[in-house]
């Protein structure tokens, strides 16, 4: 949708990578050594560097490159779509070396009258990730809102 082709199916067991955590932490201005320095993380008794809490939102983006398609199927107009909210519930922290498999859960959509008039469409997308041992490590709820434009029921 945005130019170059992307893989439509994300491989299961996508690795959480030190380099990606380093890049992500730098992009959010976070110098915490537990996110960057494997020696410091191991000295603290951790298996490797920690992924910041919102790192798995990046995994989720890579996990569902068909999100644009989902939005089209739901009748959402990308020009007027906003991210309404996101919730993370961690069973444990994520570490470099973990292998995550995304699982798409329920999608529910509803409309509400906006404060300034006009219909707003809300879409809640539930998902969770399992690790290399098959255990659920994080549950995510993502809320997308379409404001303005023409909201289709």
């Amino acid at each position: 949708m945005f130019g170059s082709p992307v893989a439509l199916i994300n491989p299961p067991g996508l690795p959480v990578e030190r380099g990606k955590i380093h890049e992500f932490s730098n992009a959010i201005g976070d110098a915490n050594p537990m996110f960057h320095d494997e020696i410091a993380a191991k000295a603290a008794g951790l298996p490797s560097v920690v992924a910041p809490p919102t790192y798995c939102a990046t995994q989720a983006f890579f996990a569902t490159p068909d999100q644009a398609k989902v939005m089209m199927e739901l009748g959402l107009d990308l020009r007027f779509v906003l991210h309404g909210g996101q919730e993370f519930e961690f069973v444990r922290p994520l570490f470099a070396g973990d292998q995550l498999t995304p699982h798409q859960g329920e999608i529910s959509s509803y409309t509400k009258e906006g404060k300034r008039g006009g219909l707003m469409k809300f879409v809640d997308i539930y998902s969770h990730f399992t690790d290399q041992n098959g255990n659920v490590v994080v549950r995510i709820k993502n809320t997308i809102i379409q404001t303005g434009g023409v909201v289709k029921e």
Partner: protein
């Protein structure tokens, strides 16, 4: 493991600031986070959609707000993090990221701390409201 849990009280605060968000900040986050919605990096697309300019991803602000939790209670401490986006982040914005302890309790014998979080710009507009729950975590 983390001493921040030992002497914590309801009402305690932790604040981080970031001055002058730039388009480069948005692009760095796009690359790192994989959000290539052109509304965040393509000025003409953003204007065509009725915006003054590109604006930051909600998850950029949310990720920076999560630093309040990990700076304060440690990188492995976050159990829950729930975000509601309120206003948009614009180039040039100065933002205050703040956490306030709302509740301290025990669950399965482990101390838990609930934190009310907000990101506010230079016009006192709230960009994000969030709730966090932190607890000490050690490898099993």
């Amino acid at each position: 493991m983390n001493s921040a849990f030992d002497d914590i009280k309801e009402g305690d605060e932790h604040i981080i600031t970031h001055r002058g968000f730039s388009r480069t900040d948005f692009v760095k986050y796009a690359g790192a986070g994989g959000d290539f919605n052109p509304i965040h990096h393509d000025e003409s697309f953003a204007k065509m959609s009725g915006n003054e300019s590109v604006f930051g991803m909600g998850m950029l602000t949310a990720s920076m707000l999560s630093r309040v939790l990990t700076d304060w209670f440690g990188a492995t401490s976050v159990k829950k993090y729930a975000i509601r986006f309120k206003s948009r982040l614009w180039p040039g914005d100065n933002v205050v990221f703040k956490g306030v302890v709302s509740k301290i309790y025990e669950e399965d014998g482990v101390k838990h701390v609930d934190i009310d979080l907000s990101a506010t710009n230079q016009k006192d507009e709230v960009l994000i409201q969030a709730q966090g729950t932190c607890r000490p975590w050690v490898p099993q």
